[in-house]
């Protein structure tokens, strides 16, 4: 048996004590005649009882003061420090990721220093300096290279 559709809103508001005394009297009068709405209210009452089990006990003595002291003592700074460190690590990871992606794309497009000829002018200085700084080849390889 279900509650009357047209009474549902008022029934819920009445159950929560959100109606005027006049409306409350109307709902009560309706409940006398309507077993469906009575069943609905009974179900809500059981549910309220169930939810009541989740009510915690009173706040232990001295707890708020202890928590306030903890807050005051600098946990805030510590947690914020961790937060800042996390943000720094995230930023560093993002930079590394971008750098990696950049290198990957540069490699694919032949922009790495070994392809000096294909390098755009802005990379030229860096590429030349890299070639100049390469270790000397072994003598045999060097002569082969000259031939």
């Amino acid at each position: 048996m279900s509650a009357c559709r047209r009474w549902q809103d008022r029934l819920g508001a009445w159950f929560d004590g959100e109606v005027s005394p006049l409306e409350a009297a109307e709902v009560r009068a309706h409940l006398i005649d309507c077993p469906g709405c009575r069943a609905q209210v009974a179900a809500w009452r059981r549910q309220r009882e169930d939810l009541g089990l989740l009510q915690p006990g009173p706040v232990p003595d001295g707890l708020v003061e202890r928590m306030a002291l903890r807050f005051e003592a600098g946990l805030a700074a510590e947690v914020r420090g961790l937060d800042r460190a996390l943000r720094l690590w995230t930023a560093a990871a993002a930079v590394l990721l971008l750098a990696g992606l950049g290198l990957l794309l540069a490699g694919r497009n032949g922009l790495l220093p070994r392809e000096v000829a294909a390098s755009p002018p802005r990379d030229l200085d860096r590429a030349v300096s890299e070639i100049l700084n390469r270790p000397e080849p072994a003598p045999a390889e060097a002569s082969e290279g000259r031939r």
């Binding site: 549902q8 809103d9 819920g12 508001a13 929560d16 959100e18 179900a43 809500w44 549910q47 309220r48 169930d50 939810l51 009541g52 089990l53 989740l54 009510q55 915690p56 006990g57 706040v59 707890l63 708020v64 003061e65 928590m67 306030a68 903890r70 807050f71 005051e72 003592a73 600098g74 946990l75 805030a76 700074a77 947690v79 914020r80």
Partner: protein, 193 residues
């Protein structure tokens, strides 16, 4: 409450000086926020961490408090979101004890009421866990209205202010939330049988 800029974090040495107004706020509202944390499903230790997190956020966001709402309403907004997020993170990290495992096996049994035997206490604890599990299964919009209405005992008007929605929306969410919770409870009880 007048607007003010957030203060630097308190230093352990006390040199910078903790923000006395923030600490006063903590002492005024700490118990309520702790209670809300417990009602959101955090255990005592997690609730303490949750309270710290809430007031850290308050410290960071105090600039956003415009004074249009009551301070308690604004604090509830910050606290509710922070604590429900905290609860979600904690739930992900810890493996829930399956329903049906006796509470006294898990050591989770709450303090017994006078005259309450161990079996009775275990049954109540089991029922509590079932209700919590059912509530946790609800979409957040239903869970928050039911916590604020049924556990915090707030009026529709206050809930509407905290959530920033119309009063009619609160009414409708409570109605639908109750129906949904009823279904979840039935489903969980059937699973147990």
């Amino acid at each position: 409450m007048s607007r003010r800029r957030p203060q630097p974090p308190p230093s352990p040495s006390g040199e910078a000086g903790p923000d006395s107004r923030l600490l006063a706020l903590f002492r005024d509202y700490g118990a309520r926020v702790y209670g809300l944390a417990r009602r959101c499903g955090l255990d005592p230790e997690e609730a303490e961490d949750g309270v710290q997190e809430v007031f850290l956020k308050v410290q960071r966001r105090i600039d956003t408090f415009r004074g249009e709402a009551r301070l308690s309403t604004w604090l509830y907004q910050v606290a509710l979101h922070t604590l429900l997020d905290h609860r979600r993170r904690v739930s992900r990290q810890t493996r829930p004890v399956p329903l049906g495992v006796l509470a006294d096996e898990t050591g989770e049994i709450a303090a017994r009421a006078p005259g309450e035997g161990p079996e009775e206490a275990a049954a109540i604890e089991e029922r509590r866990r079932l209700v919590r599990a059912a509530l946790d299964r609800l979409p957040r919009k239903f869970r928050e209205v039911l916590i604020l209405r049924e556990l915090e005992g707030l009026s529709y008007r206050d809930i509407a202010r905290i959530l920033g929605v119309a009063q009619g929306t609160v009414e409708s969410r409570i109605f639908r939330g109750r129906a949904r919770l009823g279904r979840e409870l039935r489903r969980l009880r059937e699973d147990l049988e």
